[in-house]
Amino acid sequence: MKDTIYKFTQGIPGFEDYREFRLVEQEDVPLAQLISVEDERIGFILMRPGVLFPDYSVEVDEGDEEVLKLNLVTNETGSSSTLLDVEPKGEIEIWAIVTLNRQDAAQSTLNLRAPLLLNTESERGVQVILSDKRYLTRQPLVLDKPLVKEQEGAVV
C-alpha cells in the first residue's frame, strides 16, 4: 500500500483550510483514500477515472501547471495548455472523487468535472475545474451507454 503526503497549496474547494492530504492507494483496485493530515476525520474516496472512462482527458491551465510544477513543452500553436492522458504520463496522476451513495452503491457518482492532479515527484496536488461541460460533477458509475452519448444535452 503506497502512502504519500501531498500539499494542496490552493486547498480543495469546500475544504480550503486543509492543505496537506495523505494518499493511501489500494493494492488490488483502482481506488485510493485521500485523508487530511490536519484532521484525519476528513477524507475522500478516489478512483482512477480511466478505469471506467478510457477516453477521459484533462486540460491543465497555466495556474494549475504552476502549482504542480509541471515541465511543459509549448506546442506548435504557442498555446501553453497541455493534454494529459488518462494513464499517468511521467509524474502526474489523475484521480476523481467518488460521491458514495450509502443506501445504494450503484447510485454512486464520480466527479469528472473537477479531477485531482497529483505530481508524484514534487508531491503537490491540485483539484482542477475543467471547462468541458461534457464532464459531470455527478457522473454515474454504472453506465448503460458510452460516456459521450449519455451526456449529450445534459444540463451541468
Binding site: 488490488d28 468535472r113 473537477a114
Partner: protein, 80 residues
C-alpha cells in the same frame, strides 16, 4: 459593492496587477478579458460553488472500508 459603468473595450484596473476589460457584448452576454498574475485563481463563481458542494457531499469519515466493500459488491471495480 462598487459598481462602475464601462463601454466596450474599456478597462478597469484593480491594484497594480489586475486588469479587466469588456471585450464583447451580445444580448445578455458580456465577454470579459482578465489580465492577472498566475497565482490569482480565476473561476466562474457558480462553478466553484458547485465543486464545493460536491466535495462536501463526497467527504467521508471513518467508513472507508465499508465504502470500498460497497463499491466492490456492485462490481464497479474490475478486480484483477
Amino acid at each position: 459593492m462598487l459598481v462602475l459603468t464601462r463601454k466596450l473595450n474599456e478597462t478597469i484596473k484593480i491594484g497594480d496587477n489586475i486588469e479587466i476589460t469588456v471585450v464583447g457584448i451580445s444580448g445578455d452576454n458580456v465577454r470579459i478579458g482578465i489580465v492577472a498574475p498566475r497565482e490569482v485563481k480565476i473561476l466562474r463563481s457558480e462553478v466553484y460553488e458547485e465543486i464545493q458542494r460536491q466535495n462536501r457531499e463526497a467527504v467521508t469519515e471513518d467508513e472507508f472500508g465499508q465504502s470500498l466493500q460497497l463499491l466492490k459488491e456492485f462490481r464497479i471495480i474490475k478486480e484483477k
